[in-house]
Amino acid sequence: MSFLPYALAAWLFFVGLYGVVTSRHLVHLVVCLGVMQSSTYVLLLAIGYRTGKKAPIFLGVSPKVGAVDPVVQALTLTDVVVSVTTASLILALVIDIWKRSGTLDPDELRKEET
């Protein structure tokens, strides 16, 4: 089952994308975006995994034993930070939309525009 982590990443990405496309509520849409972003964490960590190796922390461990790839882990850290901050920014915009138009349904919002 060595393809399972990659399949999980693909599943999370597309189930999130489906949610974004069919969403009827902007807060729900932000959550779906979060699901899509978590697929990138799974994908990055899955790529860097090396069978039998542990975390790249060498406190009391000789560097000669090796470890899983630390670069993708650092990338994942950045990924998490950026996704949280963008989610908060979008949610602030959602509050603004709610105050202006009183609805959070994307279809309703489009009707109001036209």
């Binding site: 693909a10 060498f58 790839d69 670069v71 650092a74």
Partner: protein, 238 residues
């Protein structure tokens, strides 16, 4: 565009994207067999070169420190954006009164504020040694302060996170990161070069600028999360 047309369009484009995605995945190394040289070299040399045992921290704050500068500014800009958007639209009216009615929730919540903040600070401080660091510990520290609201009252939370002080911590954290980089320029090296003494491996001060940048990130992330919660709670309470 009607809902059905949109779904039909998504079915076509989604299927194409899925095919491309799976095709891309088949080109990846088999799970567990990654042989990227960069990461393996860093795993080998970081201990000697930087006196740091957490290789991820060394990458984030040193080897790829410039990328983290960008990340810090994304965080900074997003938080400022939230503050601008929400503060702009908010009136200064009467505030709702919030009272936590369950004594149990209040007791457990307030009792955990101290330990949670302590764990957060511990995680920040040990970033160069063990898993953790400024980003992770910053979120933990801030959530300890947010517990004040969940368990106590909003007023207590407001007192613990005064606006001006949090704003100040936020730009100090971001500014300190950039300043450490500039200090390297003044010393005649490239931007963000590790110019401080590396210290003894296994101590909290090991790693030179890694430890300093880690603290700066911790300060900024703590302030950012407190500020975000503050702005959204103000929205809820007004």
């Amino acid at each position: 565009m009607s809902r059905n047309t949109r779904l039909a369009l998504f079915a076509c484009s989604g299927a194409t994207l899925a095919a491309l995605f799976v095709w891309g995945l088949t080109g990846l190394p088999a799970f567990g067999g990654f042989q990227g040289e960069y990461g393996q070299i860093l795993n080998r040399v970081t201990g000697q070169e930087r006196h740091v045992t957490n290789v991820v921290a060394a990458i984030v704050f040193d080897y790829r420190g410039f990328d983290t500068l960008g990340e810090e500014f994304i965080l900074f800009a997003a938080v400022m954006g939230v503050a601008l958007l929400l503060r702009e639209a908010r009136g200064e009216g009467e505030r709702r009164v919030d009272i936590v009615r369950s004594d149990f929730v209040r007791a457990v919540g307030l009792a955990s504020v101290g330990p949670v903040v302590l764990v957060g600070l511990f995680t920040i401080a040990h970033g160069v040694l063990t898993p953790g660091g400024g980003f992770q510990g910053g979120v933990a520290t801030a959530s300890g302060l947010v517990l004040l609201w969940a368990a106590g009252r909003y007023r207590a939370y407001r007192r613990a996170s005064p606006h001006a002080l949090v704003d100040f911590a936020e730009w100090t954290g971001a500014g300190a990161y950039a300043a450490v980089g500039i200090a390297a320029l003044v010393a005649g090296s490239a931007y963000l070069t590790n110019i401080v003494g590396l210290g003894v491996t296994g101590t909290l001060a090991a790693g030179g600028t890694i430890a300093i940048l880690n603290l700066a990130a911790g300060l900024e992330v703590t302030a950012a999360v407190v500020l975000l919660c503050h702005e959204f709670l103000e929205e809820l309470m007004s």
